[in-house]
């Protein structure tokens, strides 16, 4: 009866939207990232809230603060869902509302609906290896702006506007109560349009189109997964494959080389007394970065599983008891 959405979506969204300061890399990055599938005909749905903020950021590789921004914070409220088409094929989505604010200086925060994301998660392999259970996944995702927000107002814009196509390979191994999950993702990002008719990166561009570099992401998690509790530690990395550094005392730009490495913890708890209801929560901290804020993020959410089938197990894989 676990709802799979939390870890995955949250990861992704938090990572994407909230944590990264300058970098609101669109969600596409961290799609579902856990080794749990919704069972056939089950639909898990719920709201998630997150708060992320930073005072220090990396201007290129150099860390600094900015008294004209103070603490830059991002709040996100999202609706997320996961539907089991089959036990081995799930569809997931998220739609976040994002609001940003700077505690100092004069710049106005932004808010609005950010990007709609959709993933297809497929578990083609599930087998015993040694004493544990091994499963492998392929996850494809697509995201696109769900409103006409402005990308070119970093660090206060709510997103980067690129349409992202992501492809993730993931493997999960569970031995007793403990498990490890690792994944690698490639994100293809479309060009974006900005409101300006020219801009300077490391050279002049006489166009309103911006070439957004692709990105790669790695995620590793390990922890306890048994019964109605999942508790895990994560480390992940987002690396922009290209892009340029913010120059001295300049503003950030959507096609900057935004990188971040974060560590964090997630907990998911299913309430035994309320069948189908689960709580999620967690947080993470950016330990290294480039052209992004050093963000601390916390989040929480509630999910409920709707059962469109005769009563059956709710989640599958990898072998839970």
């Amino acid at each position: 009866m676990k709802c799979t959405i939390p870890n995955q979506l949250i990861q992704r969204i938090l990572f994407a939207v909230c944590c990264l300061v300058l970098l609101r890399e669109q969600a596409a990055a961290q799609t579902e990232i856990d080794g749990i599938m919704m069972a056939k005909n089950k639909f898990c749905l719920g709201p998630v809230y997150s708060y992320s903020s930073w005072t220090d950021y990396w201007e290129g590789k150099m860390k600094r603060d900015n008294e004209n921004l103070g603490r830059v914070s991002t709040q996100m409220a999202a609706i997320m869902g996961n539907y089991g088409i089959t036990d081995k094929l799930n569809v997931l989505f998220s739609l976040p509302y994002v609001s940003t604010k700077a505690s100092a200086g004069t710049l106005h925060g932004m808010n609005g609906i950010q990007d709609f994301s959709l993933w297809v998660k497929w578990m083609p392999i599930e087998q015993k290896i040694g004493k544990g259970d091994f499963s492998a996944y392929a996850i494809g995702g697509y995201s696109l702006p769900a409103s006409n927000y402005a990308a070119d107002f970093l660090p206060l814009s709510i997103g980067l506007r690129s349409r992202n196509l992501s492809l993730r390979a993931m493997a999960d191994y569970q031995l007793g109560w403990f498990y490890v999950t690792g994944s690698a993702t490639y994100v293809v990002r479309s060009n974006i349009s900005i409101d300006r008719s020219a801009y300077y990166t490391t050279e002049m561009h006489y166009t309103n189109k911006v070439d957004m570099p692709d990105a790669a992401s790695f995620n590793f998690r390990t922890g306890y997964r048994q019964g109605n509790l999942v508790a895990e530690a994560i480390i992940d990395n987002w690396t922009t494959l290209g892009g340029f550094d913010i120059t001295r005392n300049n503003m950030p730009f959507p096609s900057n080389k935004m990188n971040a490495t974060r560590v964090g913890a997630n907990v998911k708890y299913e309430i035994a007394q309320l069948r189908g209801l689960s709580l999620i929560g967690g947080g993470n901290y950016t330990i290294a970065g480039r052209n992004m804020g050093q963000a601390t993020t916390v989040y929480g959410g509630i999910f409920y599983i709707l059962d469109f089938a005769a009563s059956r197990k709710t989640t599958t894989s990898p072998k839970k008891n």
Binding site: G105, L167, N191, Y200, V210
Partner: protein, 517 residues
């Protein structure tokens, strides 16, 4: 395990194919322009009124060698050698530069401005370092190409190029040496043919004037600038458009004329426009003595005001007394009901931003890291001039008229700003959070509005069929500063009016400079 291998292979294959399949090349609007093919040669251009030159022949250009001499024939052979084995890179540079010399150097200048339009980071003690022209590569890099600096740079480069081309046209007509492909029919020509005499080369004149001016204005970017200059001159040889002596004579003439502008620039008082701590304090106390609330910097730590003495820089289109006479009457008193009303209006705008208004704010923001409002108007003008098939001298003349207007607009606007030293809306009401950065200088009158009023006025004279479009753009640029929360209505409305008066000086000049329209 086989299945795992299959899945992995598929994923890897797709991951590799995806980025290749999705081509994301972003082309600039002027990357693939056709070659400039002037509708007329403007062969009488040597009689047009120059800006600083006493006469078109103030600087001499040696008599060229006849096209029958061994010297000339050797130069023809140099072209043929280039053309015997053209690489794709060489063809690409010919294509790039053939779009127009004035256009390309204006784009390069806009690029330099955007690169250098960054306010210096503060010192540890909360003061700010000033860029040093004698040490441009040490942080803070020289220059900080803010809007007044940029306006002046665009004006000097444009005006120097125009005067140098007036001189060049004089000698072209005088010596009447034809282009190499007219002398020797076996020389290929990779650009449109012209009846304009090729000695001295107009392209090299533009290069020489630009390089000489930019040594003063962007002394830390010489490798970039010289690289462009060499490429431009080479493109003309490769194209069969000029022999080496056309190029050499043109470049020397361009440099000589530009020297006159360099001398003027060194004495135009811009070098001391930053003022000093005593003067900054005096602006504040003088304002208080008038019973008004003085402007203060809204940055932390407080940054000294941007170029408070730029208002006394020597203008191009009129004398300094006229500049002072163009200063408008005062803004609403800071304590008045009128000012309160205007402040409330701005609060309403920033608290109810529509997406369209935000687009307008960002489209016209032209703030840090951009080519500034004068550069934006150059871009607007250039994209219209491209469609007009002007000769290089007419391109230069029109750009000079525009950029002299913009520089003089900066002078009158900055004089006004520091004369009244009026606070920004956010200073009077800290609840006003802005949709773009607040410039670090007083509000009244709006720089964007003054620049835009001036640009729209001169451009409406030069390209009358676009007049209503220019007026609409100027209004939108002006309003963008209210929508963004950084100017009151009075700043914008009066700024447009003052700008228009300045642009009209350029239009009057244009009516009598001999170029016609």
């Amino acid at each position: 395990m086989k299945k795992l291998l299959f899945v992995t292979t598929t994923i890897v294959a797709v991951a590799i194919a995806l980025p290749i399949a999705c081509s994301k090349d972003v082309k600039g609007r002027t990357d693939d322009l056709p070659a400039l093919q002037p509708a007329k040669t403007d062969i009488e251009g040597g009689t047009w009124k120059p800006v600083l030159l006493a006469a078109a022949n103030e600087f001499s250009v040696p008599v060229p060698s006849a096209t029958t001499t061994p010297d000339y024939i050797a130069q023809i052979n140099e072209i043929k050698t280039w053309q015997a084995d053209l690489t794709s890179d060489e063809k690409a540079i010919v294509k790039y530069w053939s779009a127009g010399a004035i256009l390309r150097w204006n784009e390069i200048l806009r690029e330099l401005v955007a690169k250098h339009n960054l306010p210096p980071y503060q010192n540890a003690d909360g003061t700010y370092p000033a860029p040093n022209a004698n040490n441009p590569l040490a942080y803070p890099f020289f220059p900080f190409a803010n809007p007044p600096y940029a306006a002046r740079a665009y004006a000097y480069v444009s005006a120097a190029q125009y005067d140098a081309l007036v001189a060049a046209w004089h000698y072209k007509k005088l010596y009447n040496r034809q282009a190499p492909y007219k002398v020797d029919a076996t020389v290929q020509v990779l650009v449109p043919q012209t009846d304009l005499p090729s000695y001295p080369s107009e392209d090299a004149v533009v290069v020489g004037a630009a390089v000489e001016m930019l040594k003063l204005l962007f002394p830390g970017d010489q490798d970039f600038i010289q690289g462009k200059a060499e490429e431009h001159k080479r493109a003309r040889l490769i194209a069969g458009a000029n022999v080496r002596s056309d190029i050499e004579a043109g470049e020397a003439l361009g440099k000589a004329v530009a020297q006159k502008f360099v001398t003027r620039a060194r004495g135009d008082r811009a070098g001391t426009a930053g003022g000093n701590a005593t003067l900054w304090k005096k602006l504040e106390t003088d304002c208080e003595a008038r019973g008004e609330k003085p402007w203060y910097s809204l940055e932390t730590p407080k940054r000294p005001p941007m170029l408070p003495v730029f208002g006394v820089v020597k203008p191009f289109l009129f004398d300094s007394l006229t500049a002072v006479s163009l200063r408008p009457g005062p803004p609403p008193l800071t304590g008045s009901e009128k000012m309160k009303h205007e402040t409330n209006e701005i609060y309403e705008y920033v608290n109810n931003p529509t997406r369209e208004r935000l687009r307008i704010v960002h489209f016209w923001a032209d703030g840090a890291g951009t080519y500034t409002p004068p550069g934006h108007w150059d871009a607007i003008a250039a994209e219209d001039f491209i469609t007009k098939n002007y000769s290089e001298i007419r391109w230069a003349r029109n750009m000079a008229l525009l950029n002299m207007s913009l520089m003089d607009a900066a002078i009158v606007c900055w004089d006004t700003k520091y004369y009244y030293f009026n606070p920004r809306p956010t200073q009077l009401d800290p609840k006003i959070k802005t949709l773009t950065g607040i410039p670090n200088f007083p509000a009244y009158i709006s720089g964007h509005s003054t620049f835009s009023g001036a640009a729209a006025a001169i451009l409406s004279h030069l390209v009358p069929e676009r007049a209503s479009a220019y007026q609409a753009m100027a209004s939108e640029a002006s309003m963008s500063r209210m929508y963004g929360g950084i100017h009151y209505r009075a700043d914008c409305e009066v700024g447009l009016e003052v700008g228009k008066k300045i642009g009209n000086y350029a239009a009057e000049r244009a009516k009598t400079d001999g170029a016609g329209n």
